[in-house]
Amino acid sequence: MADTLQFELVAPERLIFSGDVEMVVVPGAEGDFGVLPGHSLLISTLRPGVIEIYENEKPKDRYVVAEGFAEVTGERCTVLSTEAFEAGAIDRAEAERRLEQAQLGLRDAEGDEEREKFERAVELAELLAANAG
């Protein structure tokens, strides 16, 4: 069994991360899960959360992602997310602006669908603010 798996983090606009990693923790819709080489085949939805890439059994890189999907096979793990940010590169002011906007939107939201949309936006913005450098 190989020691690494190929991990790819893709946003609609571009490929954000692509490389071999030892382990990666992905925020699945029903709980975080770690992916090691040789993981069983899995397709999962994601909730807004933090992806952690491990090296030498320590978290090395962190990415904040919005909702999306993960496809896992024994050799690779592909995460598709509508938005992804590298934890170190988040602008605090920008994150707070987003949070404010999302909360405003949530207050005026009409209907379940819209409310759900803004709830997710708030969740993401809070994560961004918490992880801003």
């Binding site: 609609p12 606009e13 571009r14 819709a29 085949l41 899995l42 397709i43 496809e71 598709l80």
Partner: protein, 296 residues
Amino acid sequence: MASLKDLRVRINSVRQTQKITSAMKLVAASKLRRAQEAAEAARPFSERMERMVGSLAEIMGEREDAPQMMRGTGRDETHLFVVATADRGLCGGFNSSITRATRARIKELAEQGKSTKIICVGRKARDQLRREFGAMIVDHMDGIGRTGGPSFEEADEIGRNLARRFEEGEFDTCTVVYNRFKTVMSQVVTFQQLIPFSPPAEAGAESGDGSGAIYDFEPDEEMILSDLLPRNLSIQIFRALLENAASEQGARMTAMDSATRNAGEMIDKLTLHYNRTRQAQITKELIEIISGAEAL
């Protein structure tokens, strides 16, 4: 005959036009490069999305409870066209080739007794289709990508809009019409069917490592699929918009290049004419002076 002054004015005005068109060409060229890069950068996402949907479709494809968005409604009555054009003109046949193809397709469907609905993306689509098919246009969106290329949020908005309309049973099939970027010189009008989902031909062959394998699903197939399909819709639209943006700049660049060249030719011709007229006038004046002197 035009006087010298008229000719001078004319030459100057053509020269001004040439300056504008050559500037537009340069702007389009630099925007084209950016649009092409954006289209290329977006490719990995849609490729992997296709792979994922493809492998799900393989599993779900034949099942009765597969979502309608994948199987279709089983009817073929109402067709929805998402017609994507530019907001601005001056880009050769870019906009009209899209609307012309759409018009032909709609007429074809009308002859078969099927009804059509249109969603216009981009101002030009609406301008050109409004007169003939005004009643069919159910929605329109302008100003896509005004700030540096189309963004995913904009595409997502259209995608959500489509998904909502589909769930309300407004249409049976959905096709997006856009210009595929082939080369800078040539753009191909493309009809891409979004609903029902048609798996890309190469997906089955390409997924060698996953084909036939049993995936685990979290939460479960239906949940994922019902989440994934609308998202796929947005992504396909996003890709169409990006291709369209690149095509638009390509078309504009070509159009402005030939406009600049035409203006150059016109200036040459007018200058020649101007010089001839000037010479004729000088000759005439000389003759007048000489014959005046002789008469004395």
